[in-house]
């Protein structure tokens, strides 16, 4: 299935603004983050603690809705879903 990944701010600088993943079988938010980490060492260091936990400041939206990364990373994704990764917002 196809998952569109978007990244902003510091994560855009590491991952690019947009990439499309083609995932075989079931996909979850956690799975997408693991794929990105396995492909990109800078992303792995920016997003994960050494212990393997996602860093506190990583924020995730799925289909334009924020999820709580401490609870909802195992949410199943569907074909065509959009997952967005960004650091804390700082507008204004």
């Amino acid at each position: 299935m196809k998952i569109k990944v978007m990244a902003f701010a510091s994560f855009r600088e590491i991952l690019g603004k947009e990439l499309n993943l083609d995932i075989v079988g079931e996909a979850t938010a956690a799975g997408v983050l693991a794929i990105l980490a396995s492909r990109n060492k800078r992303f792995k260091e920016a997003a994960f603690e050494e212990s393997g936990w996602l860093r506190d400041y990583v924020q995730i939206m799925i289909n334009r809705k924020r999820i709580d990364p401490r609870q909802d990373l195992s949410t199943k994704l569907n074909d065509g879903d959009e997952l967005v990764i960004f650091p804390p917002v700082a507008g204004g």
Binding site: M6, M61, V89, A90, G91
Partner: protein, 133 residues
């Protein structure tokens, strides 16, 4: 009457206020955020526009309902800004001043924590994303 913009262009406060003015409004409160010189040279702003605009609309609707606002104008700039340049303007019109002050304050506070916009400070000693650890 109620406009929300995320734009690369600078804006004119008088024009925003003219759009916000209504005969039944006696008070307009404007917040203007500018690039402050605390050792930086420029600031780069970036938005997830498709998510930021609807979030700003929700915030505006909340403020209108809670504080009886008669009109609201919001402009947020993105791109590269020099020290002193305007970042954001929020104009709230209400019948009375308490509502206009509270509505304007509500919108900027919520904007800062909810709307997907980011800024990077560029100074002599390198660059830094604001709000990072």
């Amino acid at each position: 009457m109620i406009t929300i913009q995320i734009t690369n262009e600078d804006f004119c406060l008088d024009e925003l206020v003219r759009k916000a003015k209504r005969n039944d409004a006696g008070a307009l409160v404007t917040f203007l955020g500018t690039v402050r010189d605390d050792g930086i040279e420029r600031m780069e702003l970036e938005a997830f526009r498709e998510a930021a605009l609807p979030e700003l609309e929700r915030i505006r609707d909340e403020a209108v309902a809670r504080f009886n606002l008669l009109s609201v104008e919001v402009v947020h700039r993105i791109g590269s800004l020099a020290v002193g340049e305007s970042i954001v303007a929020i104009v709230c019109a209400a019948a009375h001043r308490d509502e206009a002050f509270q509505g304007c304050r509500y919108i900027i506070e919520e904007l800062k924590v909810r709307v997907p916009i980011w800024k990077k400070e560029l100074g002599k000693n390198g660059e830094r994303w604001v709000g990072h650890e």
